[in-house]
């Protein structure tokens, strides 16, 4: 019981520090690596919450595929370091203020609606197992599942068409 709480707090500190590191790194490659660390800790949170299938999907799809794509594009463009230029001075304090307002709203919700936020009970043995997720996915959520495949195909075709060099007008840009 207590060990789980300690694990939660250590992981929460790692996740928040990784998010802060992503925000304030000068180099975009470091930002991407911090974000991978954050995704990995969130995957461990999924394991703690009894969602092993989602945790594995998180590691393979997010930390694996998506972030490798990010690193690829950052290095392809050579856009690691964008030089900072003069910007309007009021934007950064205003952004900080708005973020604090957002946090305060969430804190208000947490502290006033604590009656619905119960303590987690130990789950059933097969809760969140790949079998039960698969059964749900292919019975109740079959149509959204198939629509997702069409969405992924459209995104793939769209990405290829967007990046393709135009052969006829390629030279005279």
């Amino acid at each position: 019981m207590n060990g789980e709480l300690i694990l939660f707090f250590v992981l929460a500190i790692v996740a928040i520090s990784a998010a802060l590191g992503m925000l304030f790194s000068r180099n975009a490659v470091y930002s991407a690596l911090f974000l991978i660390l954050n995704f990995a800790t969130v995957a461990v949170f999924f394991l703690l919450l009894g969602a092993p299938f989602i945790a594995m999907a998180q590691v393979t799809v997010y930390a694996g595929a998506i972030m490798v794509l990010f690193l690829f594009v950052i290095m392809l463009l050579g856009a690691e370091q964008i030089q900072h230029q003069a910007r309007r001075g009021w934007q950064r304090p205003l952004a900080m203020l708005l973020t604090l307002v957002l946090l305060a709203e969430s804190a208000y919700l947490i502290f006033t609606r604590s009656d619905v936020l119960t303590v987690l009970q130990p789950a059933a043995a097969d809760y969140g197992s790949p079998q039960s997720i698969g059964m749900l996915l292919f019975s109740e959520y079959l149509l959204p599942f198939e629509v997702t495949s069409i969405l992924l195909l459209a995104a793939m075709v769209g990405a290829i068409v967007l990046v393709k060099e135009d052969k006829k007008s390629g030279g005279q840009k």
Partner: protein
């Protein structure tokens, strides 16, 4: 066991950091990564409440969110590559051609 409100607080902090990143950074790729951070915070809350209500549908929804995020990243990064090819920069302050 851990109360759900702890996960709620963690998710709120991560979401706010993502929103802050969208607001203060000028590099389009970093802004994109901040959006991923916000999606991830929402996923964490989905799984936590699915566990609290003993309903697996929340986990299925997170699965769909991950799939949509993958599609979004593919198209978004393609757009960034095309913009960089045309303007030699991905600073969002320079993408002001549509301004009236």
């Amino acid at each position: 066991m851990i109360p759900v409100s702890y996960y709620f607080a963690l998710s709120a902090i991560l979401f706010s950091l993502g929103a802050l990143g969208v607001l203060i950074r000028r590099n389009a790729i970093i802004i994109f990564m901040s959006v991923e951070l916000m999606l991830n915070a929402a996923n964490l809350l989905f799984v936590a409440f699915a566990r609290a209500n003993d309903a697996l549908s929340g986990q299925v929804f997170v699965f769909f969110v991950i799939a949509v995020a993958a599609a979004e990243v593919a198209v978004g990064l393609a757009l960034i590559v095309v913009i960089f090819r045309n303007r030699q920069s991905i600073d969002i302050d320079e993408m002001s051609n549509l301004k009236g």
